[in-house]
Assembly symmetry: C2
Homo-oligomer: 153 residues x 2
DNA sequence: CCAGTTATTTGACAACCTGAAATATTGAGA
DNA sequence: TCTCAATATTTCAGGTTGTCAAATAACTGG
């Protein structure tokens, strides 16, 4: 509410918006491609990626994915049926089930990251200084429009 | 094939990749939100947006969306049943059907764009010079990883 | 123990997406 | 003209993603 930077529609701004749209589109294309190479859907790849770091309760997984917990059940089911993920019991709370990547799951997740050319190395031709500049600009972009989404994690 | 900028995994690069991921996530969230405000799904909003400019054959629509034509049939069906889109015959080729936004469809598409806060004005706090810098960096990013995708449209 | 809350799952249903098959039209050539 | 391959669209079957409501199980506070 403090201040609101009136919406601008000059050519420059429109072009940047367009470019961001292209980045988003490309990111998604390559993500789906990379997932498909491992016979996974985008959603499955996302979950596997989240679990590759450490196990998570179904609830938390749903929060990260911004969807209903009942939806996560199915995705984890499919990953589990392929042996990429397993459900463990939380010793502290017998209500919760921890979804955890198996060894095989971590292996696939690792291969997945390798295939994420764009997500991993979108910055091919930029120098270190340019990367720093880009980082700062992106930070400010996310901060400024942001209500805290980006800061999570 | 000239040169290939070896994959880098320094902290700076990883952070930029992370930030781009956040941008992508935010873009999608807000896109879905904006669509939902008009009782549309993301896919429907995308199609409506494409058709707001000018009619397109189903085939072209599928190409733009990078999906099978048979999929577009359903999406256009649903938009048509709401009176946002109509199918016209192409006088030049009676095989093709042109999907075209109705007046109401264009009205909704326009409202949709207004609701796309992030997509429209992700740059709230950046000065003109910073926008120029961002534009140049994004251009080079897309160019360098790119095989031509970004140049289209 | 009881009531209320929380975590997960199940079931019904809609949307999205693919792939194969059906239909209609076009266009090139015998 | 007739025929045949190619193209545009749709239909159908089947799988994945997503929502919502209801059921089950376990925790928490009186």
């Amino acid at each position: 509410m403090a201040r609101a930077s009136q919406p601008r529609s000059d050519e420059l701004t429109l072009e940047v918006v367009e470019l961001i749209g292209s980045v988003v589109a490309r990111y998604h294309e390559e993500y789906e491609e990379a997932a498909a190479e491992h016979a996974l859907t985008g959603a499955q790849a996302g979950v596997l990626n989240l679990l590759a770091r450490h196990p998570l309760p179904m609830r938390k997984l749903a929060e990260k994915l911004k969807c209903e917990p009942s939806n996560v059940t199915g995705i984890v089911d499919r990953l589990e049926s392929r042996g990429l993920v397993e459900r463990r019991l939380d010793p502290n709370d017998r209500r919760v089930k921890l979804a955890a990547a198996t060894d095989e799951g971590r292996r696939v997740a690792s291969g997945l990251r390798g295939a994420l050319r764009f997500a991993r190395e979108p910055l091919a031709g930029l120098s270190d200084e340019e990367r720093r500049t880009l980082r700062d600009l992106l930070r400010r972009m996310l901060d400024d429009t942001g209500d805290g989404h980006a800061a999570a994690g």
